[in-house]
């Protein structure tokens, strides 16, 4: 006689099952990143009641709405400043920003570099599908040269951002890149950042068969996955300046940066303690927001 040891899908407890099926296209990789994220939540043994997911707008922006955690679907580009306020108001939270390349690096680019500069304790997962997908396939700051988009019908000629290099230069404590082919490595990185203090950034290259690949005759989601398998090279510790992406070239993956910089709240506490001594009141040590009043306060 046999018995089932894993009777439910490990991702299932993290999903709002009543909202399934999700809106993502066949062959889209966003759901795959959610699988890795679920494994990371399990393995890291983080208190799930203390995890908050913050997304911006776009296909990846919908992740927040599917995860059964405290989750916020915010405005376009502003997931990081929302998350900044959330984290500062409740330092006990593990705040994860889960959004797309356009949201985080175009409209939200300024916020990303400043959050990295401050080294605020946010875990940023950027699903990079190289395109604005939700709106129908327009050029993103990540779209590689010569790719066809609806707003670059003759091919993109603007240079693209190298996301790991940008995140590192701005001050991120942890920078990694994987593709949706690298599900186990991705899960490990996601698990690592839960134990890492400071601004952490994980880029995950993901297929967009409908809006990116179809127009560029790059096949379907499975073709993208095979491409990742064949063209990825793991180079942990690679200088981020060398990991820029091209349309058809090698994809350097790995953990590029894992360094210790003082985190925002520690810097704040140190400065105020230095200047104010005992007069400084660290609200992280206070009972949770007594000034707000509870249900019985009226």
């Amino acid at each position: 006689m046999s018995e089932v040891l894993t009777p439910v899908n490990p991702v299932e407890p993290f999903l709002r099952a009543e909202r399934m099926p999700h809106i993502w296209c066949p062959g889209c990789g966003i759901g795959t990143t959610v699988n890795s994220f679920a494994r990371a939540l399990i393995e890291s043994k983080v208190d799930l009641d203390r995890v908050a997911i913050v997304s911006g707008i776009g296909c990846t922006g919908r992740v927040a709405g599917y995860l059964k955690l405290d989750s916020f679907h915010t405005t376009h580009g502003r997931a990081i400043p929302f998350a900044t306020g959330l984290k500062l108001a409740n330092p006990a939270l593990q705040v994860v920003v889960y959004s797309g390349d356009g949201d985080l690096f175009a409209i939200g680019g300024n916020h990303l570099i400043h959050a990295a500069r401050r080294n605020i304790d946010l875990k940023v997962i950027c699903v990079n599908n190289l395109i604005y997908a939700m709106t129908g396939g327009q050029t993103a700051p990540t779209t590689p040269g010569a790719a066809i988009t609806t707003t670059a019908p003759y091919g993109v000629y603007e240079p693209a951002f190298n996301l790991p290099a940008l995140a590192e230069a701005a001050g991120a404590s942890y920078v990694a890149r994987w593709t949706t082919f690298h599900v186990r490595q991705m899960a490990r990185s996601m698990q690592e950042v839960f134990a890492k203090k400071g601004f952490c950034f994980i880029e995950v290259l993901s297929p967009c068969p409908t809006l990116y690949q179809r127009r560029n005759k790059m096949g379907d989601g499975l073709d993208a996955m095979k491409f990742y398998k064949e063209h990825s090279r793991t180079r942990n510790g690679a200088p981020t300046g060398e990991v820029g992406l091209t349309r058809d070239g090698e994809i350097v993956v790995g953990k590029f940066v894992d360094r210790d910089r003082p985190e925002f709240r520690d810097l704040m506490r140190d400065r105020f303690t230095h200047q104010l001594g005992d007069r400084y009141v660290d609200d992280a040590e206070m009972a949770e927001h007594p000034h707000c009043g509870g249900e019985d306060g009226a």
Partner: protein, 385 residues
């Protein structure tokens, strides 16, 4: 509930409106502020930055007003009371998050120390030209609450009301100061903490698993929860159902937007803060708000000296617009005179509410200074004739 004593600087002070506004926020329990420097509002957050480390809380200078205006919303969902402060151009940048706060029913306060516009306009000089922007600035259909102080004392007092309204109705509240009120230094009396009544956060009494985050209570306002408490809720700016889940269809839109508007509309009478004097026997009532009310007072005094029967009505609550009170004034007076530091914004609301029952005379001014009282007096005389 009473105010947290740590935030209340009880005593008699000689401070300007910006500083008094900050003290009002602290007394109201605000423990998180995000801001970006912009004249003439910056003093509010400068004072907050100096005060908050010894009270317990956070000030963060964000990279722009877009960031400031949503960082405060994150802080509210993290459990804090929060506000941001800006002026014209920054207010324009914050519009999207006023809509997000209205849609997600996030209690918070946006302070706008108004200066001349449009665009960079007059950074150091007053105007009251953002009144319609405060009402309609974010896209879509919503109701808003806006308060308008006319003195440093009122910057303190009304700031507490602003937070109370935001908590009671779970809506962003616009605090519409102007450069003159912001920079005017006067006596400000801050009462003892036990004399300051605060409306507490409408936190749900339900246990995790039982809460529908957007299920309204009797007054159409839902109770909320904070992140990290085990509710595992979802908040979105998309049109949503009572669970908080996206529901993008005409029926869900009608239901949600209808409720968001109705919860404020049906409270219009209790939201209407105003000051009035001698309106019953008046031939002419001067309707004003903010700094202009103080110039109008001089004009009213001069008109009365010359024998005219002039009443005064000062709006402290500008939005929702107190239609019923304006109708009452229009029924009793021959004319309503509306001076304001713009080329005609609130005067149109007065015209709409008066609905032809009284003559409405605007006294427009493009900003950059206050009116000359003589200009308002002239309008009163003309209206009385």
């Amino acid at each position: 509930m009473e105010a947290d004593p740590r935030g209340v600087l009880t005593g008699v002070h000689f401070i300007d409106g910006d500083h008094a506004c900050c003290e009002g926020a602290l007394a109201a329990g605000a423990r998180f502020a995000a801001g970006y420097p912009i004249t003439p509002s910056t003093e509010v957050v400068e004072r907050f930055a100096s005060r908050i480390p010894t009270i317990g809380g956070t000030f963060i200078q964000m990279e722009d007003e877009l960031a400031s205006s949503i960082a405060i919303l994150g802080a509210v969902w993290g459990g804090a009371k929060a506000f941001t402060v800006t002026s014209g151009p920054g207010f324009s940048l914050m519009m999207e998050h006023i809509g997000y706060a209205a849609m997600t029913e996030t209690p918070c306060v946006f302070v706008n120390v108004q200066r001349g516009g449009p665009s960079t306009g007059l950074p150091t000089l007053p105007a009251q030209a953002d009144m319609m922007q405060a009402r309609w600035g974010s896209h879509g259909d919503y109701e808003i609450i806006a308060l308008c102080p006319n003195s440093p004392q009122e910057c303190f007092d009304l700031m507490i009301e602003a937070f109370n309204f935001s908590e009671q109705y779970r809506t962003p509240v616009m605090f519409m100061m102007d450069e003159v009120v912001g920079h005017m230094t006067e006596k400000v009396v801050i009462p003892a903490p036990d004399r300051i009544r605060l409306y507490p956060r409408r936190h749900t009494r339900k246990a995790p698993g039982e809460l529908n985050l957007y299920e309204p209570e009797e007054d159409l306002v839902p109770a909320m929860a904070h992140a990290g408490e085990g509710y595992r809720f979802h908040v979105t700016g998309l049109t949503h159902d009572e669970r908080g889940y996206p529901a993008m269809n005409a029926r869900a839109q009608d239901r949600l937007i209808g409720r968001l508007q109705e919860k404020i509309r049906r409270a219009a009478e209790s939201l209407a803060l105003f000051e009035e004097e001698a309106v019953e026997e008046a031939d002419v009532v001067v309707i004003s708000y903010g700094i202009t009310s103080r110039v109008a007072q001089r004009a009213i005094d001069m008109a009365r000296e010359s024998g005219l029967r002039v009443g005064k009505f000062r709006l402290k609550t500008v939005w929702p617009f107190p239609d019923a009170h304006i109708r009452r004034l229009a029924a009793g007076a021959r004319a309503l005179v509306v001076p304001e530091l713009n080329r005609g914004q609130i005067v149109r609301e007065v015209e709409r509410a008066a609905a032809g029952a009284a003559r409405v005379v605007g006294v427009p001014h493009a900003g950059g200074s206050v009116h000359r009282p003589e200009r308002i007096l002239e309008a009163i005389r003309e209206a009385a004739a």
